[in-house]
Structure formats: C-alpha cells, structure tokens
C-alpha cells in the first residue's frame, strides 16, 4: 500500500471521522505525524486538516525525535519511578 506522510494537529472531534476511517488508511504517530493512504480520500483529508506534507524520512525523523525525548524523560526518572513505567521504543513508520 502506498502512503503519504504529513503533520497535522489533532483538534479533537471530527479531526477524523468514522466515514473517513473507512475510506483510507490513517495512523497517528508521535509528533503529530500522520500516515495517510495514498488515494483521493486521503488527499481530501490532508487538505481538510491543513496537513503539512513530509517525505517518509522527514516524518520518521520527527517520530524518532519525539520518542527520543520521551526516552530521555524516562531515563531522568528515579529507578523507583522507572519501575512503574516502560521505556518508549523507537520504531519505523510503515
């Protein structure tokens, strides 16, 4: 499946709708990164949310930076606090 990548701030209700979820692939990631199915409906959604188009590598860099920041926050916690949580892991976008 082909994807497009963008950043857009989730404003809440109706940012994405049930109908849109049936029309194209959509997955949200750290840093307000969205992976969007590359079809007409996906393009319409990017336009609706004023998404800023990114290349895959640009989107991946944003996600990685966000997770690295979360990892740093985790690493700064005391051992007791760390035991209560799990360290975020970096992953690859589809």
């Amino acid at each position: 499946m082909a994807y497009k990548y963008c950043t857009a701030t989730n404003w809440g209700k109706n940012f994405f709708t049930h109908e849109e979820r049936k029309q194209f692939h959509l997955s949200g990631h750290p840093g307000d990164v969205w992976v969007v199915g590359d079809n007409l409906y996906g393009d319409q959604w990017i336009s609706k949310v004023s998404g800023a188009i990114k290349s895959k590598s640009e989107a991946q860099a944003i996600v990685t930076a966000e997770i690295e920041a979360a990892q740093a926050a985790y690493d700064a916690l005391s051992a007791e606090e760390q035991a209560e949580k799990s360290r975020p892991a970096i992953y690859n976008l589809p």
Binding site: N10, W11, G12, K13, N14, F15, F16, T17, H18, E20, R21, K22, L26, S27, G28, H29, P30, E66, I67, A69, A70, A73, Y74, L77, E81, A83, E84, K85, S86, R87, P88, A89, Y91
Partner: protein, 612 residues
C-alpha cells in the same frame, strides 16, 4: 400428506435494518474531543456520551494527578479532583456513581474512593495496595480488582471483590500480571493482555478463573478495555511493549477478532464504554490528550441473530440471510504445541477441540487455549488417517507394513479396533466429522504404489467400496462421514503434485473443479460444500512451502486468508468456520519442524439473497 407450511410457505420477518450479525466488525474509531489535561494511566467509567476519567500522570513525577474530567460526547469538562491523586488506578461505574481504587503516587495505594456526581468520599481500603490492576465491574457497588503490581509481586495474581462496602479476597487469576484490561461483572468477568507481555485471557464465573483463547496480538502491556463490556462481548485496544500498537480486538465469548485500528497508536490509555460504543482516552508515548470514539454500524438494535435466519430488510428492499461467509475467514496464531510434529497425524472438530500426535507417540490435546498431554497410541506411525477431536477420535493405517491397524481414542486411552482391509500409509490429512462410528479411508500408498481404494467404517468393520478416480497419496480431506467426503490435492506419480478434487456421495467418487494451486501434504477441514485446504508443498518438497488456503464451496475453489508461515505435512481439521492446523516442516531453518498452531475463524454476516 402435504404440510400446511409446504403449501402456504412461512412468514419472513421484516426488519428496518440488518441484524447484528457481526456488529463489532462494522466498528471504526473517529477522533473525539481532547482532554483538558494530557495524561496516561487514568481510571475510567461510564459510557461514550457520559464518560469520566480520573487520576493518571503526565510527566512521571510525583504527586500524580487527582484531576478528574467528564465527557458529554463531544467535550471534556473538569470536575472535582480525587482525594488521593494516583496513576494506574482502577475504575468502574458511571459518570454519576464511579468507584476508584488502588493506584501509584510515590507508593502503592489501597485507597477506595466513591464519586456521587458531586464529590469523592473515602471508603474501606483494599487488603493489598496495588497499581496497574484490571478493573471488572459495571456499577460502583460491585467490582473486582485483579492482579497489578503489589509490594510482593510486580505481576500479582491476587483478586479482591467489592460488595459496595468492603473488599474480600477471592480466588486468584492463573497468570499473575499487571497493566491489563478487564470487562464484565463480579458474576461473569473477563481479563486480558498485560505484562508479562501476553494476550492471556481469563474468564471469571463468580468463583474461579479459567484460561481461554488469547488475544491475537500478544504484546499487550497497557491495553485498554471498554469498561462496561461483558464477559461475552468485550473490546480491547492499544497497548504493547516495547512498541505500541493501535490494534483493536473484539471478544465474543470464545475468540478474539481483529477490528479496525485506533487512529493513534498508544498504550496506558483509558477505556470507557461498551464494545459497540467506547472511548479511548489519553495514553503514551508521548503522553497525549487525544480521545477517540469507537462506534459500530449498524447500531446493535438486533442483537439476536441466528445462523441461517432469513429476513426482509424494508430499508433496502432486500431479502437477506445470516450466514458464514467462508472466504472471509482468517488464520490467527495461538499457543505453540509442546512438541514439534510433522508426519504423524492430527485432527480436530473445531478451533478449540483437536488432537495431534507427537513423534514419541504421546498425543497432544488442544482445548482452544492450551495444550495438554493425552493418551499414547499403540502404533506410533506416520501419515495415518484420522478424524474426531480431543475426547473422541479414530486413527487408521499409516507407517510400515501391514499398515492396517486402527485405533479409537476416548479422551484417555487408545484402543485397537477392526483393521483395514488394505494396509497403507500416506493417507489424507484433515477431518471427517465428529463420529468415530462412521467414516471412510481412501487413497494412500503401499510400497511402490499409490492407492485408490476406499473403505467405509460403520463402527465395527471396514467395507471396500468404489475407488477414487485418481490414485494418490498425501492428499487433503474433508467431509462428514461415510456418505459425504472430499479428496483434494496429493501426490500423483505421473503428475507429481496434484490439483485434482473428487467428492464422495456415499457410493461413488466424482471429479470436480481443481485446486488453484497443485500441492500435497497440506491439511483439509470442513465439509464438502465448505471445505478448506491449507499449507502443503509442491513435489518434490522444496521451499518455499505453501501459505495458501483455498476454500471449496462444492463447485469452485477460492483463495482466502494465508497462513503466516508456509509449511507442509501440517495436520489439522475442523469445520468450515472453525478449524485448526499445526506442525509441519518449515522452510527456515531447512527441515525445521514446527510447533506452530494456527486457528481458523469465520464470522457471521448478512448476505443479500439474489435470484437469477
């Protein structure tokens, strides 16, 4: 004499919209209003349009939030804070009568607090302070706090029950864990997922816990549940370690089915609502304010539905029938076999009732969630023909000369019964109904030959009947007994792997449509109008081995859901809508023998009836 119904016909129910054949499968997540304060590990209660969450944290520091927000279906509003702020708290009840218990803030807490719609009141404490527990309950006067991280164990199995006044210890869960989901009531509950990373699912009957089918995705640390779900109708979403998931799965009382994903991947989120109308709130990483709303279409007005029911949909002017749509089935991995197996034998009645033979000759019984050792067969041979399940099975032929031995299994021990007329190995793999007093054996191999001979079994003796049109060994088979069977694929010497399919009507074999992919040493399941053939290989057997499943409707084969890993000499069986395949040789490592167990499930759906 004609019956009145045959002359006048019968009434067909008229409905304004489709029945809820598979409501969960129609569900999707859409964005909802954002929280005022981002958080993870909050407790939750209520419904999608009258939800409430409390506690949690945003930065890992102490003290944790006591913050409390209510949702009205579109926006969150701040309410009176908890008395003791904490994260990973338990929660049950409604927006106007919610119970919060346990949690973490600098220490594990055993406090219980009740929200009456305007303020929080402290009630009697839990015996065990804990956080990351699963919450089971729909009202504030009856709940279970299950497992979690306690002082004595980070993955406790201790369970306490709340009666509206106090907590009492009850029977422990089988698999201690924390950060997991709960659903149902104190009389019929369900817990699932969590850490140690698992999809383990357990059912509570008011007295004790039973392991049942695990979630499809087994790394479910921090999974959320629709808190007002039931033990037979639940929804689990998100979670995961080390990476998070957006996966959503629905529970129907016996199996988990994958549904549409969350829009945003996350774990340690909070779930609220039911399996048809839920909220996913907050979570991490990073810690977020996002809310998503799960809605099913159509709304489950008609929860009563029966396989085979016919009705008239007045909205769409269409006659419809509720049925299994077999080609929509999928394979899901499940608990691995205790011992790898290949050319022995295996059979099942469904995806929760099967028996496979290990190489040493000790059987392995499958109950839908776990494997246990069964009886030891008397003749420990390869490629025997078998049908039945874990409590009643029959196995015939196989191995070396004379290859005539037949044994029945009663759930405990194997007993030798009347021998075949023609001894042979290389017999079909699959299933042939549930009765061990009725069936047939066909094809196979004797030294230097492949066989076409067919013998029927009446519970006491074997009778030679009409031969297959094409002799073969290593085929797949399906059917219901001595009057209805199908034979497909296999190894035919002159053509090597075969795609030939034949059906048996009790007296003769008839050639019908070929498989799309010729192969041998796969495994069959189902009947003669709802048969499946999965796995197998070309001949000679060189990788890659087959991942394909084909489905036979009585006249044509259609490709459907693949296995995750190709294999041959996999065994199994079951019905067209519920089957199992396991074991076999793997391509990597070369010659490797598999312990993999995959279960096949088909959901019901409503199909329009057309006439031509």
């Amino acid at each position: 004499m004609s019956k009145y119904k045959e002359i006048k016909g019968f009434k067909v129910q008229t409905l304004a919209s489709d029945t809820a054949a598979s409501v969960a499968s129609t569900g999707t997540w859409a964005s909802g209003g954002s929280l005022n304060t981002k958080r993870m590990g909050a407790g939750g209660a209520g419904t999608q349009t009258a939800g409430t969450i409390f506690g949690g944290d945003a930065d890992g520091g102490s003290p944790r939030y006591g913050l409390h927000e209510n949702y009205n279906g579109s926006t969150w509003s701040e309410e009176t804070d908890l008395i003791q702020g904490a994260s990973y708290v338990g929660g049950v009840g409604t927006q106007t009568s919610a119970l919060k218990f346990g949690g973490y803030s600098s220490q594990r807490w055993n406090l219980t607090e009740l929200w009456n719609g305007s303020s929080w009141t402290e009630l009697n404490e839990q015996s065990t302070a804990r956080f990351g527990q699963a919450s089971v309950g729909q009202v504030s006067t009856a709940a279970l706090t299950v497992g979690g991280s306690s002082a004595s164990s980070a993955t406790s199995n201790v369970v306490e029950q709340w009666n509206g006044t106090s907590w009492t210890e009850v029977n422990e869960i089988n698999n201690g864990r924390s950060y997991f989901g709960g659903s149902g009531t104190t009389a019929a509950g369900l817990v699932f997922g969590g850490t140690p990373e698992s999809g383990y699912t357990e059912l509570w009957n008011g007295n004790s816990w039973t392991n049942v089918t695990a979630m499809n995705t087994d790394e479910r640390y921090g999974v959320a549940s629709a808190t007002s779900g039931t033990s037979t109708d639940a929804l689990g979403f998100g979670g995961g370690y080390p990476t998070t998931t957006a996966n959503t799965e629905s529970w129907n009382g016996s199996t988990w089915t994958e549904q549409n994903n969350l829009g945003t991947t996350r774990r340690n989120l909070t779930g609220v609502g039911t399996s048809s109308a839920a909220l996913a709130v907050g979570g991490e990483p990073p810690i977020m304010t996002n809310t998503e709303e799960w809605t099913t279409t159509p709304a489950p007005t008609f929860t009563k539905q029966n396989l085979g029911q016919v009705y008239y949909n007045s909205g769409s002017n269409a006659f419809k029938v509720t049925q299994f749509v077999f080609p929509t089935g999928t394979w899901a991995s499940n608990a691995a076999m205790p011992t790898a197996t290949t050319e022995r034998w295996g059979t099942g009645n469904s995806n929760s009732d099967a028996i496979f033979m290990s190489p040493p000759g000790v059987s392995m019984e499958w109950n839908g969630s776990s494997w246990s050792n069964g009886g030891t067969q008397n003749n420990n041979w390869d490629s025997r023909s078998a049908w039945g399940g874990s409590s009643s099975a029959i196995v015939a032929g196989g191995g070396t000369a004379p290859r005539t031995y037949v044994e029945t299994y009663n759930g405990t021990a194997f007993t030798e019964v009347a021998v075949l007329n023609t001894g042979r190995g290389g017999l079909p793999a699959g299933s042939l109904g549930t009765s061990i007093d009725d069936g047939l054996v066909f094809g196979g191999a004797t030294p230097g030959n492949v066989e076409a001979e067919t013998e029927t079994w009446n519970g006491s003796s074997w009778t030679e009947v009409s031969d297959l049109n094409t002799a073969r060994r290593g085929s797949g088979n399906s059917g219901s007994g001595s009057t209805s069977a199908a034979c497909f694929g296999g190894n035919v010497p002159s053509t090597n792997s075969s795609a030939l399919t034949e059906t048996w009507n009790g007296s003769a074999w008839t050639e019908t449509t070929d498989l799309n992919t010729a192969r041998n040493a796969g495994s069959g399941f189902g009947g003669t109008t709802s048969a499946g053939y999965v796995g197998g290989s070309s001949y000679p057997s060189l990788p890659p081995y087959n991942v394909k499943t084909e489905f036979f409707n009585g006249s044509t084969w259609t490709e459907t859901g693949d296995l995750a890993n190709g294999r041959y000499h996999n065994k199994g069986g079951g019905a067209g809508n519920s089957a199992i395949t396991g074991g076999g040789y793997l391509a990597s490592p070369s010659g490797g023998q598999s312990t993999e167990n995959a279960v096949w499930t088909v959901d019901q759906s409503n199909k329009t009836i057309t006439v031509s």
